[in-house]
C-alpha cells in the first residue's frame, strides 16, 4: 500500500531524502549501526460503567526514536517534534555513546516492501464511527446484566489504535508498517447477600470491528464475565500446597509465557543471568512439550509483519520435544551471540529502546483427550482462567494467578475454589508435564506483557495439560489432607 509507505512523507513533512542525513549524524561519532524509528499512533477508547458511556478518549502520540549501537552499547535519543533540527539534535544525543571518528560517511537507503500482511484489516476500528463502538459496549452491558439478576455492576471498555511506523537502518533498509489493534473488555460484579464476586473476560487482536461476532461477540464475552462472577459466588477456600494441576486450553498458556518465555529472551542469556543461560540442547521439558513463539499468526494480538527493528517476524521453535532449541533474539543480542535475528526486537513506543520480547507463545497439541486427562486425576486442581503472572528470570521462580479454578475429585470436576496463585520453577515445571491434550487453543486476545517498564501486546496458547506437581497458594490447610 503506497499510502502506508508514504505516510510520514505525505502527512508529516518528513523528507525521504533527509533520512540518510539523520543516520549519518547518528553515526558521526563512530558506532556500528544506527536506526530511526518514526511512530504515529492514534488511540481511541470508551468506557461504559453503570450503563452510562461515561467517557470517550482519543489521542495522538507521534515522534522519532534514534538509536546508535556501538559494540554492546546503545545510545538513544527521541523527539516528539519531527522538525529536521529536532531530529538532528536527537541523533547527536544518540551519537554520544560512541567516541571516535565516523566509520560511515554516507548511507544509501532503499525501501523494502513487506513480504506478508498478517493483519489485512479493511476498515480499522480507530477509523470507524464512535457510535458503532458504543453499540458494542452497550450490547455487552445488556448481555451481562441479562445473564443473571445477581449481576449488579458491569463495566465495559473498548480500546483501539492504529500505529504507523517507518524504520530506517544504516544497513540501508527502510521498512514501513501499519499496525491496527482492538480490544473489548468486560468486568462484572455479582452480589448475593453480603457476598461479592467478580468476573472478567474480553478479546481482540489486530482486527477490525467485524471480529466481534459469533463466539467473539460482545454477548459472548459479557456472558463469560457474568458466568465467572456467578460461579465464584459458590467458591470455597482454595487448597494450599503441592498437588496435581490440570490447566484448561487457551489463556492458561500464560504458564509458558512466565515459566519459559521470559527466561529465553536473549538479552538475559547473553548476560548469563537467566535460569536458562547456557542450556541450549539440554532437556528442559518432558518430551510431550514443544513450545513455539510465532509472530506470524494472522490477526493475533502478538503478531507483527516486522518487529520494531524492521526485521520480519517468524515462527521460532523454543523447545522441541522437551529439548531447548533457541532464544528470542533482537539485533543487539543476535550480534553479540553471533546467532540470527528472530524478529523479536520490540518496544513500547518511540520513547523506548527495543529489546527481545515474545509475540504469540504456545505449546503444540498432543494426543491426549482432555476428558481423559481430567479423569486420570484423583485429587487435584483444574484451572481454566487466569489473571496475570510474573517471573524472576534469575532463579526461575514464576507465578500465575488462577481466577477460575475447580477441585478435581476422583476424576471429576468438583467445587469451584477462590482465586489462588500458582508458583513453580521455570526450568523444571515442564519436565513434570505428564499429559498434553489434542485441543490447542489460543487466548482470546487480551494479553499485555511488561518488561523493564515497557508494555507490548502479546498472545499465548496451550492445549489442556497435566502437571504432576505444582504449588497452589490457597488458604485451606484442611483441604490439604485429602491431597496427601
Amino acid at each position: 500500500m503506497a499510502s502506508v509507505e508514504r505516510f510520514f512523507y505525505d502527512h508529516y513533512g518528513l523528507a525521504e531524502s533527509s533520512l540518510a542525513r539523520y543516520l549519518e549524524a547518528a553515526l558521526s561519532e563512530g558506532g556500528d549501526y544506527a536506526d530511526l524509528y518514526f511512530e504515529h499512533t492514534t488511540t481511541s477508547s470508551i468506557l461504559l460503567d453503570e450503563s452510562l458511556v461515561k467517557t470517550a478518549t482519543e489521542g495522538i502520540s507521534m515522534g522519532c526514536g534514534i538509536r546508535v549501537l556501538s559494540g554492546e552499547q546503545t545510545g538513544y535519543g527521541y523527539t516528539d517534534d519531527l522538525a529536521p533540527e529536532r531530529i538532528l539534535k536527537a541523533a547527536k544525543i544518540a551519537a554520544r555513546i560512541a567516541s571516535g571518528p565516523a566509520h560511515v560517511s554516507s548511507v544509501g537507503l532503499s525501501t523494502i516492501a513487506n513480504t506478508h500482511d498478517f493483519y489485512p484489516v479493511a476498515s480499522p476500528a480507530t477509523e470507524r464511527e464512535l457510535t458503532e463502538k458504543l453499540e458494542l459496549v452497550l450490547r455487552a452491558d445488556r448481555a451481562a446484566r441479562a445473564y443473571d439478576p445477581r449481576i449488579k455492576q458491569v463495566r465495559v471498555t473498548f480500546g483501539d489504535q492504529i500505529r504507523h511506523v517507518l524504520i530506517a537502518g544504516s544497513d540501508g533498509r527502510v521498512v514501513t508498517d501499519f499496525q491496527p489493534l482492538a480490544r473489548l473488555g468486560v468486568f462484572s460484579i455479582a452480589k448475593e447477600g453480603s457476598k461479592l464476586q467478580s468476573g472478567t473476560s474480553g478479546g481482540g487482536g489486530r482486527v477490525g470491528l467485524e471480529f466481534f461476532q459469533g463466539d467473539r461477540s460482545p454477548e459472548y464475552f459479557a456472558g463469560e464475565a457474568a458466568r465467572q462472577a456467578i460461579v465464584q459466588l459458590e467458591a470455597r477456600e482454595a487448597p494450599a500446597g503441592e498437588m496435581e494441576v490440570v490447566l484448561g486450553p487457551g489463556w492458561p498458556g500464560i504458564l509458558l509465557h512466565e515459566a519459559v518465555g521470559h527466561g529465553l529472551e536473549a538479552d538475559f542469556n547473553r548476560k548469563g543471568i537467566s535460569a536458562f543461560s547456557g542450556r541450549i540442547g539440554q532437556r528442559v521439558a518432558s518430551e510431550l512439550c514443544t513450545v513455539i513463539d510465532d509472530g506470524t499468526i494472522p490477526g493475533r494480538r502478538g503478531s507483527l509483519n516486522v518487529d520494531d527493528e524492521g526485521e520480519p517476524t517468524q515462527k521460532t521453535v523454543l523447545i522441541e520435544n522437551g529439548i531447548l532449541r533457541g532464544y528470542l533474539e533482537d539485533k543487539l543480542s543476535a550480534g553479540i551471540l553471533k546467532t540470527t535475528r528472530t524478529g523479536n526486537g520490540r518496544r513500547e513506543s518511540y520513547e523506548h529502546i527495543p529489546m527481545p520480547r515474545m509475540t504469540n507463545t504456545y505449546m503444540l497439541a498432543g494426543n491426549d483427550d482432555p476428558g481423559e486427562i481430567l479423569r486420570s486425576v484423583k485429587h487435584g486442581l483444574y484451572a481454566v482462567s487466569f489473571g496475570g503472572g510474573q517471573v524472576d528470570i534469575t532463579n526461575g521462580k514464576f507465578v500465575f494467578s488462577a481466577s477460575e479454578a475447580y477441585l478435581i475429585e476422583d476424576g471429576k470436576v468438583a467445587a469451584p475454589v477462590k482465586g489462588a496463585t500458582l508458583i513453580g520453577d521455570g526450568p523444571t515445571v515442564l519436565t513434570r508435564v505428564t499429559a498434553v491434550g489434542n485441543d490447542l487453543k489460543l487466548d482470546p486476545g487480551i494479553g499485555t506483557c511488561g518488561k523493564d517498564g515497557q508494555s507490548v501486546p502479546v498472545g499465548v496458547g496451550i492445549p489442556t495439560i497435566k502437571v504432576s506437581r505444582l504449588t497452589v497458594g490457597g488458604t485451606s490447610l484442611g483441604r490439604l489432607q485429602s491431597f496427601q
Binding site: 467517557t55 478518549t57 502520540s61 467478580s198 548469563g272 535460569a275 534469575t394 507465578v399 496463585t421 504449588t471
Partner: protein, 447 residues
C-alpha cells in the same frame, strides 16, 4: 509561564467552540537514563517531551483527548473531535468541574524541585551508577555478575487550567540510583536489587551504601528452599509492606467504592483494622513523591486521615467519585495525559509504630520474614490475597534460612485486623510507604 498559557488558551478555545466547561493539563519533561553492566556503559538515553490532555463538557456529557503535537492544525482538530465525541457520550449527573470555591493552591513550599539534579553532569551520573555496581561486585566473591546499575533523572513542569478561571503550575525533579547484582553458589543463581530515590541529588544514599545493601540482599537469598505448607505469623519488610498499602489504597479509592468493587464498601466510620493501624494520605510532605500544591482538578492539597486507630475515616475521592457518594473531594484527583481525572494517592502511608524491626523478628517463634512478593493474586472486590513470596524463615527470633517458591495467602480484611506489631522504620521511597509489619494468620504454601 508558557505552559500555563498553552493550557489557558486551549480552555478558552474550547469554550468558544461550544464546550460549557473544559479543563486542560499540560506536561513537559526532560528525561535522562543510563545503565551500566560489569563496569561498561550499556545504554545512554536523553530526551525532552511534552503532551497535553483536554477534557470538554457539554452540559453533563464529557469527552477527553490528548496529543503530543501542539501545532495549531493539530490542536484545532483535537478540539473539534473532542467536542464531537462529547455530543454522543451519556448524560452523567456526577460529571463536571469542582465548585469554584473549592479551587486553590497550597501556599507553602513543598520542595518538589531541586536544581542540583540537573547540575549533575552525564559523567557524574555514569560515575554514580559505576560506583554502586562496583560496591555490589566487590562485596563478596560469590557476586561475579550483575544485571546492571542505573541512574535516572527527570525534571518537568505540570500546568493545569480550567474554565472556572483556575490556572496553576509546578515544577518537580526526581533522581534514582539502582543496582541488581547476581550471586551464585553451588550452580544456582539469585538476583536482588537496591535503589535510592530523591527529589534532590544531595539526598540520594551514597552509591557505596546502595551497592552494599543490594549485595546483602542477594547474598542472603543463596541456598533458598521451599518450606512445608503451614499457617504462621508473617513479617513484611518495609518494601513488601508498602505493597500491602497499595492494596489498601485500591480498596479505599472512591471509584472502587461507588461501584461496590471493594471489600471496604459500606464500611465508612466502622472498625476495619486493629487499633495499631493508622493510615494517612498527606499531600503536603516536604519533598514527598506524592506531594503537590493542587490536584488534577485544581483542589488544594491537604492531609486526609484514612484509617485512625483501626477506624475507617475517609475514602479517597476526586470530584466525580465525591458526587457519586454524596461526599466532598479529598483532593485525590490524579491526572495523566489520557482520559478523565482518576483517583491517585498523595503520600499514602502508615506512620511508624513503637517496635524496632529487630524486636519484631525476635518476637517470632516460627514464622516467615517476607522480602519479595511477585504476581497479581489480589482481589480488591473480595479482599482475597495470594501471592508468590520469598524471604527468610524465622526460628526462635532469628533468621534461619532463605525461602523461595512459596505463596502467602489470606484475606486483606482479616489481615488488617491481624496486624500484631508495627515497626519504627518508616522511610519514604515512593508515594506509598509503610514500616515493617507483623501479621498473623496467613497461610504459607510450599511442599
Amino acid at each position: 509561564m508558557r505552559l500555563e498559557q498553552v493550557a489557558g488558551e486551549l480552555v478558552d478555545r474550547a469554550k468558544i467552540a461550544g464546550a460549557t466547561a473544559a479543563d486542560v493539563v499540560v506536561r513537559e519533561a526532560d528525561e535522562f537514563s543510563t545503565t551500566l553492566r560489569m563496569g561498561k556503559i550499556e545504554s545512554l538515553k536523553e530526551a525532552a517531551s511534552k503532551a497535553l490532555g483536554l477534557r470538554v463538557l457539554i452540559g453533563i456529557r464529557s469527552a477527553t483527548s490528548y496529543s503530543s503535537d501542539f501545532s495549531e492544525r493539530s490542536l484545532q482538530r483535537l478540539l473539534e473531535r473532542t467536542i464531537a465525541m462529547a455530543k454522543v457520550t451519556s448524560e452523567d449527573p456526577a460529571s463536571g468541574l469542582p465548585e469554584r470555591d473549592q479551587l486553590g493552591r497550597y501556599p507553602g513550599e513543598l520542595n518538589l524541585f531541586s536544581s542540583d539534579v540537573d547540575l549533575l553532569s552525564t559523567e557524574d551520573r555514569i560515575q554514580l551508577a559505576r560506583r554502586a555496581e562496583e560496591a555490589a561486585l566487590g562485596a563478596d566473591p560469590r557476586i561475579q555478575n550483575s544485571e546492571g546499575a542505573g541512574f535516572e533523572a527527570s525534571q518537568g513542569t505540570v500546568a493545569y487550567a480550567n474554565s472556572l478561571g483556575f490556572v496553576g503550575s509546578y515544577r518537580a525533579s526526581y533522581c534514582a540510583l539502582s543496582v541488581s547484582p547476581i550471586a551464585r553458589q553451588n550452580g544456582s543463581m539469585q538476583r536482588d536489587y537496591w535503589y535510592s530515590v530523591a527529589r534532590r541529588a544531595a539526598a540520594l544514599e551514597t552509591p557505596e551504601a546502595v551497592g552494599r545493601k543490594a549485595a546483602q540482599r542477594v547474598l542472603r537469598k543463596l541456598g533458598a528452599r521451599k518450606v512445608s505448607t503451614c499457617q504462621v505469623p508473617v513479617v513484611f519488610d518495609p518494601e513488601t509492606a508498602r505493597s500491602l498499602l497499595s492494596h489498601i489504597f485500591d480498596a479505599v479509592r472512591g471509584d472502587a467504592i461507588y461501584r461496590s468493587a471493594s471489600f471496604l464498601t459500606g464500611k465508612l466510620h466502622q472498625k476495619i483494622a486493629n487499633d495499631n493501624v493508622t493510615i494517612l494520605d498527606d499531600g503536603l510532605r516536604s519533598g514527598g513523591f506524592g506531594s503537590r500544591p493542587f490536584d488534577g482538578e485544581g483542589i488544594p492539597s491537604s492531609v486526609t486521615p484514612v484509617i485512625e486507630k483501626g477506624l475507617l475515616q475517609n475514602y479517597l475521592l476526586n470530584c466525580y467519585t465525591a458526587r457519586k457518594l454524596g461526599l466532598r473531594t479529598t483532593g485525590n484527583a490524579s491526572r495523566g495525559i489520557a482520559g478523565p481525572p482518576g483517583v491517585g494517592p498523595k503520600n499514602f502511608y502508615l506512620p511508624p509504630g513503637p517496635h524496632s524491626p529487630e524486636e519484631i523478628v525476635r518476637s517470632v517463634e516460627n514464622g516467615f520474614y517476607v522480602t519479595e512478593l511477585i504476581g497479581f493474586g489480589v482481589n480488591t472486590v473480595t479482599g482475597d490475597y495470594s501471592r508468590g513470596a520469598g524471604g527468610m524463615w524465622v526460628e526462635k527470633g532469628k533468621f534461619a534460612y532463605p525461602v523461595e517458591e512459596v505463596t502467602i495467602a489470606g484475606n486483606l480484611a482479616e489481615m488488617l485486623n491481624h496486624v500484631e506489631m508495627v515497626g519504627s522504620d518508616l522511610e519514604f521511597r515512593s508515594a506509598l510507604a509503610a514500616p515493617t509489619l507483623l501479621i498473623s494468620g496467613l497461610t504459607v504454601a510450599g511442599t
